[in-house]
């Protein structure tokens, strides 16, 4: 035996893990796709008010064309019945072009198919900063801004609170621990609430940071200066989100670690003569990672929900403020497209979480079978 034992053990283990995770991923992807499809279809039906919006649209088309005809001097001398016929035919053309003559149920399935393929169509009123009417390019322009801002804030909150919580769970009852407990209720207020005060304090009372936007106007030519400008604009919104969630995260994870630090296998690890950091990493953090990652995901979802107001407060050109404006304009394609993007982002997050679980926790399996 000897030498090969270790190698064989690790190879067999690796193969088993890979098979397990592949099967798990396949079933989860199928399930999540169905979920996304249902969510998007519901949004299509709701955003079109179950087809009622079509009637509004037909009336709108009729009045627009009639208005244009009335204002057009070329039509002024035309006999009125001929003019009406011309208007009628133009209206019919427009209805056929927009496929409003077909039943909504039929079109809604087509919309769904297009939406799921990320074929997002054209906006009715809005356009991108570069002037495009394509919803895809409007969103593509906004998505990086949202991911940059929220990704930064979430990662900061996630890693600093885990680190501080582990630290505090070993200094249970210290003054630092007490301060964090006392500050935990501060997370009852949302990020935009802190944002308003931060803007007041750091942009107006002591004007050292920009109150909103993503980059200075006009944007700096030099890429380094551009990045610095974006970073400067990110400080306040990131600080607002950080303030609103850091204390409650530290508090809950510190409590969580305290509970898990009294598991028998942690005691065993101590008896085995492992150092504090080895115990923390392998025996406290490692077995508790699935629940930690779960609450991370919940936080992600929560922050996406709050993004509309926070982006409005900081005038951040992200998906949240895009959705806010689209609702104001009743721009159905843009509303549906933002929902589609959110649905896909959430589904991908959930899928990644599931995969991470399967990697982190060998007990996560599909169908209960032993591989």
């Amino acid at each position: 035996m000897s030498k090969e034992v270790g190698a064989v053990v690790s190879r067999v283990g690796w193969l088993r893990s890979a098979q397990r995770i592949a099967a798990f991923a396949a079933v989860r992807i199928a399930g999540l796709f169905v979920t996304v499809a249902i969510a998007v279809y519901l949004t299509i039906v709701i955003a079109n008010m179950g087809g009622k919006v079509d009637e509004l649209r037909i009336v709108q088309i009729q009045s627009t064309i009639a208005e244009a005809a009335r204002a057009n001097p070329a039509f002024a001398s035309m006999p009125s019945d001929e003019k009406l016929k011309l208007i009628e035919s133009q209206v019919q053309n427009e209805i056929v072009r927009l496929r409003l003559d077909q039943p909504f149920a039929e079109r809604s399935v087509d919309y769904l198919w297009q939406a799921l393929r990320l074929n997002l169509g054209r906006a009715e009123q809005m356009h991108s900063d570069s002037g495009s009417r394509e919803v895809a390019s409007i969103i593509a322009e906004r998505l990086p801004a949202t991911l940059l801002l929220f990704g930064t804030a979430q990662l900061l909150v996630f890693f600093s609170s885990i680190w501080i919580a582990l630290h505090l769970s070993r200094r249970y009852g210290s003054w630092l621990d007490r301060i964090v407990i006392a500050l935990a209720p501060s997370s009852a207020a949302p990020g935009w609430f802190y944002g308003i005060f931060l803007i007041l304090a750091f942009s107006f009372l002591t004007p050292i940071l920009p109150p909103g936007g993503m980059v200075a106007a006009p944007p700096p030519e030099d890429p380094v200066e551009y990045a610095l400008s974006v970073a400067g604009h990110m400080v306040l919104p990131v600080a607002a989100m950080f303030l609103s969630s850091i204390f409650i995260s530290i508090y809950s994870w510190r409590t969580f670690f305290l509970i898990h630090a009294s598991e028998d296998y942690v005691e065993m690890a101590k008896a085995k003569g492992l150092s504090s950091s080895q115990i923390e990493m392998r025996y406290i953090l490692r077995p508790t990672l699935p629940p930690i990652v779960t609450s991370f995901a919940f936080m992600l979802i929560g922050l996406w929900g709050g993004a509309i107001i926070l982006e409005q407060v900081f005038n951040w050109p992200g998906l949240g403020s895009l959705a806010f404006r689209a609702i104001g304009f009743r721009d159905t394609p843009v509303i549906i497209a933002t929902v589609v993007i959110f649905a896909y982002l959430l589904a991908v997050t959930v899928l990644l979480l599931d995969l991470v679980y399967a990697v982190l926790d060998p007990r996560v399996k599909l169908g209960g079978g032993r591989s």
Binding site: K3, V5, G273
Partner: protein, 347 residues
């Protein structure tokens, strides 16, 4: 071989009047906890020695401080420690005086390892069993993963587990297998002393017998010393060289296994032995009336006095610790433990 002879005679510490330095010797070991209503004197002046290759069984009721004794020996202290004092001589040095880092590196697992009371949950659920068994070698000896796993495979063989179980996760093992794996883990770094804290109490009778057989085999093959902590008189009799009976934080009797199981001297020992049901004895087992004293509020005198059938006036004062020529110890005012009137004749 004086040591070997000493073990043969079940004394462990002395043979023919010549003092042998035992593997482990505690002097006045104390571990008290702070509680809301006072101080819990869980371990209250323990003097115990364990010879090389010897198996000492600590018997006692629940709550008498048995598990706190293991905590005190391995310095696995909870937050609310009030007193932690005394000396523990292990391989010739007082390990109580070591700083935490030295204690961790030089005593834990490589010197003294343990099998926990709740061994079912003693394995990290998300790490392969083999890695956990091999871990002490990597941590304490700096061995490579492959080399440590190879050693772990040998240990699995020793405790009767197939080596392909190394790549399994704890949840893929039955209770008995897990207990064997934990035992393999306790032995992997070749400690001089293994503390077994109720190693079989969570297992069914058949598995208990299996584990005890494995322990006996290991003791014969490796010469490891064992400190077995249990409340199960029957199981302990299978492996014990010496028995120490604990009551309310102190030892009331320490005797060779032969002596303890046939003719115990302390009244509590007699009652305890009489309470064990026996197959070929028509008399029903005796029930010990009363309850052990509250560790928060211990009497000044003999701690067993309130339940003792041979109680004397002197029992209101702390009883003397009597030690006979063979090294048997009894903490009682009675010269001979009160005669044979209490217990039924064990033969």
């Amino acid at each position: 071989m004086k040591t070997a002879e000493a073990i043969e005679h079940g004394t462990g510490t002395t043979a023919g009047g010549v003092a042998e330095e035992p593997l482990l010797r505690t002097e006045g070991l104390r571990l008290h906890y702070r509680a809301e209503r006072g101080v819990v004197r869980a371990v209250d002046g323990i003097d115990l020695s364990i010879g090389r290759g010897e198996a000492v069984v600590v018997l006692g009721e629940s709550g008498c401080g048995k598990s706190s004794l293991t905590k005190a020996l391995l310095r696995m202290l909870p937050r609310n420690v009030a007193t932690y004092s005394g000396s523990v001589w292990f391989e010739g040095r007082n390990i109580m005086s070591l700083d935490d880092e030295t204690f961790r590196r030089e005593v834990r697992w490589v010197g003294i390892s343990m099998v926990m009371q709740a061994a079912m949950n003693a394995l990290n659920p998300v790490v392969r069993v083999g890695e956990q068994v091999a871990e002490p070698l990597r941590v304490h000896r700096g061995w490579s993963n492959a080399r440590a796993l190879e050693r772990a495979a040998e240990m699995f063989d020793l405790v009767g587990l197939p080596s392909d179980f190394l790549s399994r996760y704890p949840f893929e093992l039955s209770g008995g297998m897990r207990q064997r794996a934990v035992l393999a883990m306790a032995l992997v770094a070749e400690p001089k002393l293994v503390i077994l804290d109720e190693p079989t109490s969570a297992l069914d009778v058949l598995t208990q017998a299996n584990i005890m057989n494995v322990l006996k085999g290991i003791k014969a093959r490796l010469g490891t010393s064992f400190l077995l902590i249990t409340h199960d008189v029957a199981t302990s009799s299978e492996i014990a060289n010496r028995v120490a009976l604990m009551y309310a934080g102190q030892f009331v009797e320490i005797a060779s296994a032969a002596r303890f199981f046939s003719a115990p001297s302390h009244p509590y020992s007699r009652l305890l032995m009489a309470s064990v049901p026996r197959l070929h004895d028509p008399r029903p087992p005796i029930h010990i009336p009363g309850q052990p004293p509250n560790l928060l509020d211990l009497p000044v005198g003999c701690r067993f006095a309130s339940r003792c059938p041979s109680r004397l006036a002197a029992c209101g004062d702390p009883p003397p610790v009597r030690r006979d020529a063979a090294g048997n110890v009894s903490r009682c005012w009675l010269e001979d433990g009160g005669g044979g009137s209490v217990a039924r004749d064990p033969r």
